[in-house]
Symmetry: C2
Amino acid sequence: MDPLLTDLYEFTMAAALLGEGRADEPATFSLFVRNLPPDRGFLVAAGLHDVTRFLAGWRFDADAVARLAAAAPFDAAFLAWLAGLRFTGRVRAVPEGRIVFANEPLLEIDAPFGEAQLLETILLTLMTFPTAVATKAARCREAAGGRTLVDFGLRRAHSAGAGLAAARGAAIAGFAATSNVAAAARYGLPASGTMAHSFLTALAGNDPGGEIGAFRAFADHYGGDPVLLVDTWDTGAGIDHAIVVAKELAADGRRLAGVRLDSGDIAALARTARDRLDAAGLTGVAVFASGGLDEFEIARLLAAGAPIDGFGVGTNFATSADAPTLESVYKLVELGGRPMAKRSIGKATLPGAKQVWRRPGFGGDVLALAAEEAPVPGAEPLLRPVDLNADPGDAEAVAAARRRFEDDWSQLPQKYRHLTAPTGYEVELSGGLKAW
Amino acid sequence: MDPLLTDLYEFTMAAALLGEGRADEPATFSLFVRNLPPDRGFLVAAGLHDVTRFLAGWRFDADAVARLAAAAPFDAAFLAWLAGLRFTGRVRAVPEGRIVFANEPLLEIDAPFGEAQLLETILLTLMTFPTAVATKAARCREAAGGRTLVDFGLRRAHSAGAGLAAARGAAIAGFAATSNVAAAARYGLPASGTMAHSFLTALAGNDPGGEIGAFRAFADHYGGDPVLLVDTWDTGAGIDHAIVVAKELAADGRRLAGVRLDSGDIAALARTARDRLDAAGLTGVAVFASGGLDEFEIARLLAAGAPIDGFGVGTNFATSADAPTLESVYKLVELGGRPMAKRSIGKATLPGAKQVWRRPGFGGDVLALAAEEAPVPGAEPLLRPVDLNADPGDAEAVAAARRRFEDDWSQLPQKYRHLTAPTGYEVELSGGLKAW
């Protein structure tokens, strides 16, 4: 990753620190989210694996130094310092997949001031959206109540990288699959997909009467159990055509995995589909829905009793459309062994390197100074030292995050998971922080 | 770019087309935005340069084929076809920086059906957010009324790639600079930045009395005309300290470029800053504002008479927070020389390869079939053939897009540029399309 992917002011500040002889002073910065977006009761930590890879490989090679020198005036001493820069600090962080809350550090960097300052922008970039979209995924999970979820978000994600982050966040929060083949290959996820309306109109010669032939052609060339998109023309007829194909597949020892509804009154069409499939003895054929879905729409469909077995969530999920960002910040909290803090209305920063202690069963967290003893017997410390030399690989990093998420999710009381107006989780301050 | 960055269903459909012997049928797909988001009166086309590079380099090498084969079951004939695939089609597109409207094609692909279908997802990814964020940038431009705009968006963009797209869209729409050094280097843009609160607290030893020393230290090591952040403690005192430093710099033959306000009642603080700077004879020192700004907040500040010379726009800009996506679609409009269309409520697709004709001075557009004669004398065709072998380079592509934007922007009547409830621009259908 290009080490110039950062704000210019990180360089101008680092140059001033170097010039003042303070670049090597030991510092601690803390990355946290000040306030949760509306309707968010928790966050799912994500992004740390990319951070560890970035830090392990952080270099300003000759090309990067030359591009920086061309972009802004820096003196030779600073450019030489950059050329020799490596990350020499330590990272303490909440492992990916854990559930956290406002003001709890997602990660802390203990490093020489100049290094740690330079990292601000890229650490925020690598952590903010991954955490936002993993959180959005968990909310879809809550809404879907055990039903299948598939990520369809790539096409309108804010970049290919954002699409990968969305697929990864979805996997951490327990989605069954992604449509994004690159993400599936990289993260070891099941890839999933059906067909587009244009495919059917083309194979049917733009004639509704050709739909069944188009279904057959698709199934003939599909190497698995197909899902058929039934709403290109008349959805009722589409369902009936799918039933015919399902019986033909069964005669061949294959099966129709499901039908997909992508438009119209999804709840009513899902009832029609379920009724007709059941009447045909196809109780095992699933009804999938897609098209503008997010956690709110999933909840609305299920509240209306729609018999839907699975949901494809796309744009609104992958852009976290109702809350497209988080109030993430990266703040200097300790310098030269002295706690640093900012006292200002609404933007206060608590001093000192920190630890978060969690009572069992989400019985409340305590935000404490890292140097304090465990403030609560039996509580678990959330921030753990990160070994930058140990890379589990993309697939195992996601799998481990998913295991952590499942463990936390199974314990998180529902009042914190409500899609609207969730209960605020208690994060109290330790004695050490209150005394400050 | 990884050619597997696409939805699985593109591959399953292409495999079925190949199996049916229809992958080579000549097809035209059209990429357009169905409806503009709320309060959007226009779009700024962006993303085409990355599309042309992607298409010119589109290959499924052995590694990509192997990863696809591992991700989903495809037969050997399809995998062999993929391994030999190159883009053999043509692209007609609206050049970047041009102003367009709903339902007008941003680009059309004329290519064998299998190729053109496979490209759907990645073309939407490469065009949607760049166009959304260039549009957001133009709205900030409208709000700022000639004042300086700087992109500060990288840190909370949805990925590094999204941050680059935001910086690029900002440049196309006439921003003066970006804080993103990688974007500045790549696209040939001025890089801009000041300092963070943490830098000042650190250099001041966490003591407001040390602010002036921290300003001096920053200015000493800064190779240009500095901008000082004056709201870390007491903003009035910060302004006074900046004035002292400005006079010291002037005595050295240097100058203070400006002061930056990032919190509090920005409008009131800007008046204080302007008054004190003017009283000190520093009429040339600018007042910059940042912190949660977007086009709406810029307009509010200026309507309140705030004497602000420049704005740094970050998260709300770079995530296009009020409208984080566009209803972009990629639809089959012609197959085997026959127009294809979909008739359905709210999602109709007009048939045929198209051209957009624009009357001079944004006097209304005509959406027409590409095969039709110019429907209006003196009208300009917006879609142009794209030469995939001609790459102007990153910087020139942005510069050319910016020139086109400036030309269009200077002609676009203000009623279409309103930040809320803009007048809808007239896009009429040609005789050929009406007859369909």
